[in-house]
């Protein structure tokens, strides 16, 4: 279903980081019994303690009631009956009694469930028994269009549609983890997409656009074709998003990404970049909490880039796990090549396989430490 993405979360942070410290707007509920913590483990969200954990993206309300939110799960265990779900039309951050719709998986029990929480009381609206084993990574999507609710499992309609009008407002998107079986279900990623008709996406090529442009809060650029030379030297403000379904090249040189802005490249999906992502961020500045997530090829990036505070760049398969303001930690495979930062005090630490090459710049104080 076509739509405009308005939230992307990949839980890119060091292990042990609480979700409220990711810098992506996640807010933990303060309601009694639902104020447990969730944290990052191997770039996935997981419940940190037995107390139920309820979070919402409090700085990013849904643009309309008609949207869908999906989560990619990872079963760290097939035992027990942990309960983890995505929530939508949430009443918002704070200590109010829980109010939202939830699509959850309860392993070895009620299976896939659509539930409604209203002032803290819950009704199971639909359920289909199913079990998952260690290593399974199902995707659950909660779709809301007016009073029609449905749940998709791996993009296949599984529950609904069913009519329910108890919670009509747009609200917020969030997560709820509720189980004594802590850490058995992890969440790899969350995506939310508006289902209202927005501006038509650009189907063809988009070249040399946005020179000097400013993309303000919540604005989005989505291109079905190649996107090149864009955003030089554009500014993406908070919550702005840039996605392309083809190659994304030469973007963002020397653009600035401010807090919560993000660039995303993924394998073929409805809201990602199918092709490679190259030459971005040359000279770009990523401010606190800005993120770049790439699951395709990532080449020639970060030459001269500045990553501030908690800015993060990650690549799939955990090739690149963490980048700090002047330090890069890279886990590289065979044939890899790294072009490090230029600048005083920068340091690169490759943990590499055979055939790797490192080409450092000659900046004052640059240092390369190599582990064979």
């Amino acid at each position: 279903m076509a739509g405009s993405p308005f939230l992307t979360e990949d839980f890119l942070a060091p292990d042990g980081t609480l979700l409220e410290n990711l810098g992506t707007g996640l807010v933990r509920s303060t309601a009694s019994g639902n104020n447990g913590a969730a944290q990052v483990t191997n770039s996935r969200a997981t419940q940190a303690a037995a107390t139920n954990a309820v979070y919402c993206w409090g700085s990013n309300p849904a643009p309309s009631p008609n949207h869908e939110v999906s989560a990619k799960y990872f079963f760290n265990s097939g035992a027990g009956n942990p309960s983890v779900g995505v929530c939508a039309r949430m009443a918002g951050p704070g200590g109010a009694p829980l109010t939202f719709y939830q699509a959850r998986l309860v392993n070895n029990s009620s299976g896939l469930v659509l539930a409604r929480f209203l002032n803290g009381a819950a009704v199971t609206l639909q359920s289909a028994p199913m079990n998952f084993a260690f290593g399974d990574d199902p995707k659950v999507t909660l779709r809301m269009q007016g009073d029609q609710l449905s749940v998709l499992l791996n993009d296949q309609l599984t529950l609904g549609p069913i009519s329910d009008s108890a919670i009509p407002g747009a609200g917020y998107v969030g997560l709820r983890m509720a189980s004594a079986n802590v850490n058995q279900i992890r969440v790899t990623e969350v995506r939310a997409t508006s289902l209202d008709n927005g501006p038509a996406p650009i189907v063809g090529q988009l070249n040399a656009t946005l020179d000097g442009a400013t993309i303000s809060s919540s604005a989005q650029v989505q291109v079905a074709g190649a996107l090149s030379k864009s955003l030089a030297p554009a500014t993406l403000a908070s919550a702005a998003a840039l996605a392309s379904t083809a190659g994304l090249t030469k973007a963002l040189a020397p653009a600035m990404l401010t807090a919560s802005a993000y660039i995303e490249a993924e394998p073929p999906q409805q809201d990602g970049v199918e092709g490679t992502l190259s030459k971005i961020l040359a000279g770009a500045t990523l401010a606190a909490s800005a993120r770049v997530a790439v699951r395709g090829a990532l080449a020639s990036t970060l030459e001269g880039a500045i990553l501030v505070a908690t800015a993060t760049v990650a690549r799939s398969s955990f090739d690149i796990s963490k980048i700090y303001p002047s330090r890069v930690v890279i886990f590289e495979g065979s044939g890899s090549r790294v072009t490090p930062f230029d600048g005083s005090g920068s340091r690169i630490t490759p943990h590499d396989g055979s055939g790797s090459r490192v080409t450092p710049f000659e900046g004052s104080g640059s240092r390369i430490t190599r582990f064979e």
Binding site: L118, N119, A121, A122, V123, T124, S127, A128, P129, A166
Partner: protein
């Protein structure tokens, strides 16, 4: 073709462990219901109209022995009620206080389902 039941509402609204749900939830089938609630989220009825959309013969056989469940005719929505034995439906509607007007005012089985859904939202 889906199966429909009138089912007791069970649970107390406690999230996860004892949510309000129909008694069909005690069986390994896929099901759904509409559960109208008041402003505090409390269900309006102690019963619900349940649609079962995935099942096994064993589960159905067991369910049909459960006194908390009243199976409705297993027919298509456009079947005329005049061609069905509706005595068990009448009995269930009376026992649950739903009112016979939902069946007396229906021509087809689909009409009956719609009338029961409307009655759930506006109880007698």
């Amino acid at each position: 073709m889906k199966r429909y039941y009138l089912a007791d509402r069970i649970g107390d609204g406690t999230p996860d462990t004892n949510e309000w749900r129909p008694s069909v939830a005690n069986y390994p089938v896929g099901w759904g219901w509409q559960c109208p609630v008041d402003a505090n989220g409390v269900p309006l009825n102690d019963w619900g109209l349940v649609e079962v959309f995935s099942e096994t013969p064993a589960a159905i056989a067991t369910m049909e022995q459960d006194p908390s469940l009243d199976p409705l005719p297993y027919v298509a929505r456009d079947v005329l009620l005049s061609t069905l034995d509706t005595a068990p439906v009448h009995a269930a509607l009376i026992r649950r206080g739903i009112g016979l007007d939902v069946v007396l005012g229906a021509d087809t089985f689909g009409d009956l389902l719609d009338n029961i859904t409307a009655r759930a939202a506006s109880p007698l």
